[in-house]
């Protein structure tokens, strides 16, 4: 049954997004040529204006590709579970866990597709603009430590994507439970409140620690730095994984115990 749920969720999420994704590719080609034009020796004022407008259009397209999934995920989750459609959804012979799992997996898939598309677009722009990749990676020798760090980064990024999606689900669920009339508004308010608090705390942390931590890190030898990075990544990954499971538990509990669609 999870497969069927996934199919319908993915169908909804990709319905409009693919248009933006496909449109972004020629836009990136255009952006690459615009950058090349700006880098040319004697660009005229008209050429500069056209190039800047082209780059702006490219950036807007890429932003649309990156932002659209988040909006679609929120709409799908809210409409499918907490609007009138929810009556139908919850009559399906599937567990709440499967409903939630389907939403999480489909969200992760579209978020990753969006990251991949943005990366392809940026790469395309860089190639057309004439970026010299061999120069960038000149002298780079792959080491095991770098591989571990890269793996840790991919894992951390994936967990952060899932946790931010789950945070959105928590806010929508709480908003749907505490109010009957302005569910969306309450969800947005809660989301801004929570993310504001988290970003405020992290900004305070970064502003206090950045100088000191950068100083400590720079004073280390490169191998030691990689070792410290890999070692510190592990507890952070475990804590974020715990946060993901915690948020999952909270959404599941709200859907299970507090749901009131009347």
């Amino acid at each position: 049954m999870l497969k069927k749920l996934l199919r319908y969720d993915l169908k909804f999420l990709f319905r409009y997004w693919w248009i933006a994704a496909v449109a972004s590719l020629p836009a990136s080609v255009m952006g690459g040529f615009a950058i090349k034009l700006l880098n040319s020796e004697f660009p005229t004022t008209g050429a500069i204006l056209v190039a800047v407008l082209m780059i702006l259009a490219t950036i807007l397209t890429i932003v649309a590709v990156a932002v659209m999934p988040t909006i679609m995920i929120a709409i799908r989750f809210y409409k499918n579970l907490y609007s009138d459609e929810g009556y139908l959804t919850f009559t399906l012979p599937v567990s709440r866990a499967n409903l939630l799992n389907s939403k999480i997996i489909s969200s992760f898939i579209i978020e990753m597709a969006s990251v991949l598309t943005v990366a392809i677009n940026v790469l395309l722009m860089a190639i057309i603009a004439g970026a010299n990749f061999s120069e960038i990676f000149q002298g780079y020798v792959f080491r095991v430590g770098d591989g571990i760090l890269a793996l840790a980064f991919v894992l951390l990024f994936s967990l952060l994507v899932v946790s931010s999606t789950l945070l959105m689900f928590v806010c929508i669920s709480v908003g749907a439970v505490i109010t009957k009339k302005h569910k969306v508004l309450a969800a947005i308010g809660i989301y801004y409140g929570v993310t504001g608090f988290v970003s405020g705390f992290s900004q305070l942390f970064v502003s206090l620690s950045s100088g000191l931590i950068v100083g400590i890190v720079l004073s280390m030898k490169e191998d030691v730095r990689t070792l410290v990075g890999s070692l510190m990544a592990l507890p952070i990954i475990l804590i974020i994984a715990a946060v993901v499971v915690g948020l999952y538990t909270l959404v599941h509990w709200i859907m299970d115990r507090k749901l009131n669609l009347s």
């Binding site: 866990a97 305070l204 942390f205 206090l208 620690s209 100088g211 000191l212 100083g215 280390m220 030898k221 030691v224 070792l227 410290v228 070692l231 510190m232 592990l234 507890p235 475990l238 804590i239 994984a241 715990a242 499971v245 915690g246 999952y248 538990t249 599941h252 509990w253």
Partner: protein, 322 residues
């Protein structure tokens, strides 16, 4: 007559006048410079560089720019134009380079400059040990003669310890807006002293020459005795004499507390609570979820302890030279 035509003739006339002046000045052939271009010698007078023109501020980085091999080697014309203002007080020199760059420098007559300065502006910047600077107060404006109180000497060490404020000067109306004329020293014993760049610093107190004064055994300074100025400077004095090490210690303590909160206290409390909830939960799904949370948090705590031990050991071994 057509207004545009009038404007055209005015511009042509101005260009011709300036061109003639430039030609006349170049024709004298008297203008020479020292190696780093911070001194100009013209009609028997010595000039020092002063301030900006064409958007260039002549500070240590600009001097580095002039000195940089690529452009310095490319210098194709020492003097593009020389303009004289008033009684030869200011000359403007443009150094042009084959690469296309230009540096315009204003030189002031070294002998007359002190007498020509109108007012001094105190702009308060404090240099704190890690190299960051911040403005303590915007500025206060004082007549320049009030800067020159009792003449005394202090050591270069005292200077580096307490000097914190650059003093800018206003002079020559439209030609020069502002330039560095000295430093304020908030001494530990409560005195406020003024260091006059033009008396003791070659090149008017830019970074490269400042280092040189700090190395001296004795530096001549003036004690500011004017009560009004001292009162206005009060807040700056208080802040600059504040020991910086203490505030850095506080940051380290806050940082350690935050790290402990994020990586130890919160995970520990959450792990204990999750364990309790996993025992209390009746549905197997919640039991499983809470158990997973608890296990992940305990694991993070254990890994954190191991990581910290390894990091301390590695850093310790590195410090010992292994």
């Amino acid at each position: 007559m057509n207004k545009k035509l009038c404007l055209f003739f005015a511009i042509v006339l101005a260009l011709l006048t300036f061109g003639a002046m430039a030609f006349a000045a170049e024709d004298t052939g008297e203008l020479t410079f020292n190696e780093s271009y911070n001194f100009a010698f013209y009609k028997g007078n010595t000039y020092i560089y002063a301030t900006e023109a064409d958007g260039w501020i002549i500070d240590s980085s600009t001097l580095d720019y002039i000195d940089s091999v690529t452009l310095f080697d490319d210098l194709y014309e020492d003097v593009k134009a020389i303009y004289a203002y008033g009684n030869d007080e200011v000359i403007v020199v443009t150094l042009s380079f084959n690469a296309g760059g230009r540096v315009t420098i204003l030189y002031i007559n070294n002998n007359d400059v002190i007498n020509s300065v109108g007012n001094g502006i105190f702009e308060t910047y404090t240099l704190i040990p890690n190299g960051r600077t911040y403005v303590e107060s915007s500025y206060i404006e004082v007549p320049r003669e009030k800067l020159f109180g009792k003449k005394i000497t202090i050591s270069g060490k005292e200077l580096v310890q307490y000097s914190s404020t650059s003093v800018s000067g206003h002079a020559f109306g439209e030609i020069i807006t502002e330039y560095d004329m000295g430093k304020l020293i908030f001494h530990e014993d409560g005195r406020v002293l003024f260091l006059n760049y033009y008396e003791c610093v070659v090149g008017a107190g830019y970074l490269n020459t400042e280092t040189e004064i700090f190395l001296r055994e004795e530096v001549i300074v003036y004690e500011i005795t004017d009560e009004e100025i001292l009162e206005q400077l009060g807040s700056g004095k208080q802040q600059t004499t504040q020991p910086v090490e203490e505030s850095e210690d506080v940051i380290v303590i806050i940082l350690i507390a935050m790290l402990a909160l994020v990586f130890v206290v919160i995970p520990l409390v959450a792990a204990i609570l999750s364990a309790v909830f996993s025992f209390k939960a009746k549905k197997p799904v919640y039991k499983k979820l809470f158990r997973t949370i608890s296990a992940l948090l305990w694991a993070s705590l254990v890994v954190m302890v191991i990581a910290v031990v390894i990091i301390i050991a590695v850093i310790g071994l590195e410090a010992l030279g292994f």
